[in-house]
């Protein structure tokens, strides 16, 4: 009769065989690659979820003058376009922004509530590395983060080794969403 120890030894022995090794590698690698790339959530589904099935009408903020310059400063390059769409109710706004990680754009949905990040979600990731930024262990660091007077995040975000550029892209987009949210609040205040 085989004991638990014997079973374990039999499994280890089979893994040392070439076929066993190949099976182990496939088992470890394939699921990660299958999950890594691709769109995770549509923009419509993101907005439906954020606004409990009733997303408000979209609004826009125009990037002109100082706002345009600050946006370029945050991103490190000019924003592709001069109009950014957002969805807002009261002091809560949702943004779907894109930033290039290494070569491909990462699409990120961000919700800002009362000048702080409420949630951040990777909606589409198109590169072969750095997709770990989509997981909660990373995105859970963002809620509650605000912008300092120097337009930096007021709390440290732990990076992920091997995903430096993706982490940087998400941090930039968080700063951008917080900054643009501030502008929408100012615009609303001045129009009232």
């Amino acid at each position: 009769m085989l004991t638990g120890r014997d079973d374990l030894l039999a499994i280890c022995r089979s893994l040392v065989q070439p076929t066993g090794l190949v099976a182990l590698v496939l088992l470890l690698v394939l699921p990660f690659h299958a999950l890594a790339e691709g769109p995770y959530q549509t923009r419509e589904a993101f907005l439906e979820e954020i606004f409990s099935g009733k997303p408000p009408s979209p609004e826009v903020i125009w990037l002109r003058g100082e706002v345009k310059e600050t946006t370029a400063e945050i991103l490190g390059h000019a924003y592709p376009g001069i109009r950014v769409r957002y969805w807002g109710v009261d002091n809560r706004t949702a943004w779907v922004l894109e930033e290039i990680g290494k070569t491909q754009p990462i699409t990120v949905g961000l919700v800002v509530n009362d000048n702080g990040i409420e949630s951040i979600r990777v909606l589409a990731f198109r590169e072969s590395r750095g997709w770990e930024v989509r997981y909660a262990f990373f995105t859970d660091q963002f809620p509650g983060i605000k912008l300092t007077d120097e337009r930096k995040l007021d709390r440290h975000i732990d990076g992920i080794s091997g995903a430096t550029l993706s982490v940087r892209a998400l941090k930039k987009l968080s700063r951008l969403a917080l900054y643009l949210h501030q502008q929408t609040v100012q615009e609303n205040d001045s129009s009232q």
Binding site: R43, S57, G81, I82, R85, V96
Partner: protein, 269 residues
């Protein structure tokens, strides 16, 4: 063979090797120059921005078979002419970097110019500055086949699912029954613009980096060029081998000569 004949034959072989070494050196010198120059340039492609600098020489463009298409069609939006030349879209004669063909229509609306590229609307100012790309934006129809204005002056787009009308800020799009639409249409590109577009297209068709890569591999001369570079590479190997061999022979003969003079000096003393 006597010792004298053996020595004579070795001297002849050495002399012949010298001559071959010289000929191989002279005939491969041009390839050394080409490979060194192109290699140096390719090592600094990013700094020299060679992938964004384009060849303007008609001779080279003709050699690569880069010809601009004839009989182009343009859309008119305000004072601008929007034209697709193969995969590129031009605003007058300036290439638009953010969008690519196919071009399904162009409509001026509310101070903006809406270009349908790749099935999605892209908004530009009347001066050609990118305002917003509406590709994969929530609520914006995709797979647009045509764009135009409804009889009420609203922007309309046609997709396989039907016709959609946009609000005045182009933020919300709703499906409409069967409104009367004046779809945007093309007309033959004006001769002056056509000529300018053809030049602009050809002028952005061949990056210098491509020339350098082809020069380095020999592909600039087609398949024959690759074989010529192969022959040059074999020449370099022969040159290196014969050079080392000649140097070793020369060193051995100098050593032998020195030993001989030293031993005769010892004998004399």
């Amino acid at each position: 063979m006597t010792r004298h004949n053996k020595k004579k034959s070795r001297a002849r072989l050495l002399r012949s090797l010298y001559i071959w070494h010289r000929y191989i050196g002279i005939s491969t010198a041009i390839f050394v120059i080409i490979l060194s120059f192109s290699g140096l340039v390719l090592n600094h492609t990013d700094e020299l921005n060679l992938d964004a600098a384009y060849v303007q020489s008609d001779l080279l463009l003709d050699w690569y078979g880069i010809t601009a298409p004839e009989g182009l069609l343009s859309y008119t939006a305000g004072s601008a002419q929007i034209t697709a030349v193969n995969d590129k879209i031009f605003w007058d004669n300036k290439p638009l970097l953010h969008i690519a063909a196919p071009l399904a229509g162009v409509q001026a609306f509310g101070g903006l110019v809406v270009i349908v590229a790749g099935g999605s609307p892209v908004l530009f100012t009347a001066q050609g500055e990118l305002v917003e790309k509406l590709e994969n934006v929530a609520g914006v129809p995709t797979g647009i086949q045509a764009i135009g204005l409804s009889s009420q002056g609203l922007l309309a787009v046609k997709t396989v699912r039907g016709i959609y009308l946009a609000d005045e800020n182009l933020l919300e799009w709703v499906r409409a029954g069967g409104p009367e639409i004046n779809w945007s249409s093309t007309q033959a590109t004006e001769p002056a613009l056509l000529k300018s577009l053809q030049n602009a297209y050809r002028g952005t068709g061949l990056p210098i980096e491509r020339i350098m890569l082809d020069l380095h591999s020999g592909r600039i001369l087609g398949r024959a060029g690759v074989y010529i570079m192969d022959a040059a590479a074999i020449g370099f190997l022969l040159l290196a081998a014969s050079g080392v061999w000649l140097w070793l022979r020369r060193r051995a003969s100098i050593r032998a000569h020195r030993q001989k003079t030293e031993s005769s000096a010892v004998a004399r003393s």
